[in-house]
Symmetry: C2
Subunit: 414 residues, 2 copies
């Protein structure tokens, strides 16, 4: 058995995965064996070695002193968060549910931060009890937090999430700039900082998340620079020296034909300049990068089994036991404007010649249940395994798994 690169027809990043005897390897294990370990199809498999390699790459390029956080929203699977908790410097949570997973994973509360535009009172109380950092996002939240803190006697640790006065170019999704529900408009931050001081809350820093899924290094560099400059300006008005400057994330991964991987080196080099400035202008403060998709997205594959191969009026349909109910994004329904195919291969026929175009569809009675539209695949038969790459982030957790009453997919950290 010799490892050879996978020829993932429509998309090159899948070439990173190796194969043996025509089978896709997931952390060295053949896909048919992983399927047997899962005990059923469909399943998501997350490759530990690929996560490890991604964290290692970042550690090797990031300037010393930059804290690497994992944004759990990308993939909150408990085992994966536990694996990650031993490798990153902090976890970012977006709900009290995620907070519980982060704490169970053994991350120190001092290294957990909680952001979200609509935190409920019970969530704020849980966060106070746990002692995590709250990225506050409105005046109401600050007042509520102060009263909950007084009532409980648990001190509130706060950072202010800023809605910047600029936008991030080339971003898949913008979460800052203009009118937004996220954070506090930059121009309203000084007044809020005074209020935080007046209420005696422990001010720890700033958070700014301008956008996500960005493949353009220049745009990321520009965003980080502007974010830092804005924080520097606002620090003058803060009730205490900031200790945490969370620049957000937004590092994208390539999904589609013609997408190019992010050039990491220039982004890290530009960060080194900011680190330098921090040491002179805001000594004692730490820069934080908060990455989700970039850490886990490329480490995951979604595997389903072929149930039927049909021809309808000249088109071939490969009907599989998974689909949009398990992987909404691959079906093109997770905010995409135009549906494009995620990279897909027949995972047990790697290296076989192309056998022409097929449609890979799921078992649901809806035309929305499409995993790949007019894609070139090798020969394929019932029982074969189909792999959807780039599925480690915003897959399982962002899909309507109960839709039409089919079983949930399994999840494995391999």
């Amino acid at each position: 058995m010799t490892a050879m690169p996978v020829q993932a027809a429509p998309y090159s990043p899948a070439d990173d995965f190796s194969s043996a005897d025509g089978e896709l390897l997931i952390n060295g294990l053949k896909v048919s064996r992983v399927a047997a370990m899962a005990g059923r199809t469909p399943f998501y498999a997350y490759d530990r070695s690929r996560i490890e390699a991604r964290v290692g790459l970042l550690r090797s390029l990031l300037p010393a002193g930059v804290q690497l956080h994992y944004a759990m929203k990308a993939n909150p699977m408990q085992a994966l968060v536990g694996f990650m908790a031993q490798r990153v410097d902090g976890l970012d949570v977006a709900s009290s549910g995620e907070l519980r997973v982060a704490l169970d994973a053994g991350m120190a509360p001092s290294r957990i931060s909680f952001a979200g535009p609509g935190k409920r009172a019970d969530e704020l109380r849980q966060a106070l009890a746990a002692g995590v950092l709250l990225n506050v996002e409105s005046a109401r939240e600050v007042e509520l937090l102060a009263s909950l803190s007084e009532e409980s006697g648990w001190p509130a640790r706060v950072a202010v999430r800023i809605n910047p006065d600029f936008e991030m170019r080339a971003s898949g999704m913008r979460m800052g700039g203009g009118a937004k529900p996220f954070g506090v408009d930059a121009e309203a931050v000084p007044a809020l900082l005074r209020r935080i001081g007046g209420l005696g809350l422990a001010f720890e820093g700033f958070h700014l998340y301008a956008g996500s899924q960005n493949l353009n290094a220049e745009s990321l560099i520009d965003m980080q620079r502007r974010s830092f400059d804005l924080m520097l300006r606002l620090a003058d008005e803060a009730p205490a020296m900031p200790k945490i400057l969370n620049l957000g994330g937004g590092f994208g991964i390539p999904y589609f034909r013609n997408d190019h991987p992010l050039a990491l080196e220039p982004v890290c080099e530009a960060l080194a300049c900011i680190v330098e400035e921090v040491s002179t202008k805001l000594p004692g403060a730490e820069l934080v990068l908060e990455l989700g998709r970039y850490l886990v997205g490329e480490a995951g594959v979604y595997i389903c089994r072929v149930i039927d191969c049909k021809v309808s009026r000249g088109q071939k349909f490969v009907v599989v036991d998974g689909g949009m109910h398990h992987h909404l994004a691959a079906a093109g329904l997770f905010g995409q404007v135009v549906r494009r195919n995620y990279p897909v291969v027949v995972a047990n026929r790697i290296g076989a010649p192309s056998n022409g175009q097929v449609n890979v569809v799921g078992p649901l009675c809806t035309p929305l249940d499409v995993l790949a539209d007019k894609v070139d695949l090798t020969e394929v038969h019932p029982g074969d395994l189909i792999a959807v790459f780039q599925s480690g982030a915003y897959g399982f957790s962002s899909s309507p798994t109960a839709f039409l009453g089919h079983p949930e997919p399994a999840q494995l950290l391999v």
Copy 2:
């Protein structure tokens, strides 16, 4: 307390809901009381009286002899299916999970049918054990079914799902015509019928589902006529006289401004002609209508609570404790090409004057989490309840409720 019609700003069908003391009434109960009964927000509430009225309306207009089925995929909540099972003539299921709910609801297996383009062997076996009708959708399925039936000794009851040689105009989603994964191309049906006869399976009829969410009566009438004519033609080739002619559904409900409710009378009148023809041309056969959304969609509301009201750069944001994770369709992410607002009101301030435009957004850290974009609402404050109408179908069950780790919404049959 006097009932008065709700002035649901952007959308008239919500006028059907009454109010008292400024509160939306759900089957006669004030929304604040229903919220207290739910024990939490957000929740879905399905109004028994509205479901009952819709079934009654159909019964009063449908010609005698037309069987009314409920397509569970629209809303598989166990209690609702149980309520429905006592009021309709059959249930249509789309998975073995839905099959279990249908059986638990007490529907006789003889009145349950199972369709789906990719039925797994274990699902077919469950269906055989239960004795329900299988709408077969491929040659492979017929062979597999025959061997499972022989193996188990349980007879297979089959109807053939036809992929027609026409398309339904004006349909929200097309599921027949052209190249499709659903059913068997009309031109391939005769050969399949011969094979069914040869295998000795009990042939019971035909199923044809051309499309869904159609508000155009003329198009539905045309589709039903063509479907019946096709079945009549194919019946000549069948191994037995068909007993069941399932014409599908596709009856739409109005969601958006400028949508007009379906004119039910002409559709039912046209069905009367078909019933007449059935009695002479295919005596003993029953016409079946399979409706999901049309039976329950307008009976349901999604209720969430306002957490925060923010202004960002001149725009007002009403942040609620529910959103896209509970109601993907209202967020515009369930196959819609252009995002449009579902009808939304402040459910505890019915009749209050408009207070200008706001954006109603959820608690998630994503710009996709929008329930209403630039909608006119009355005055609104934290603690108020927001109602999203037309939420009885494809709401809870088709949403990624685990996304970002927030609690699931409750569901109540009121």
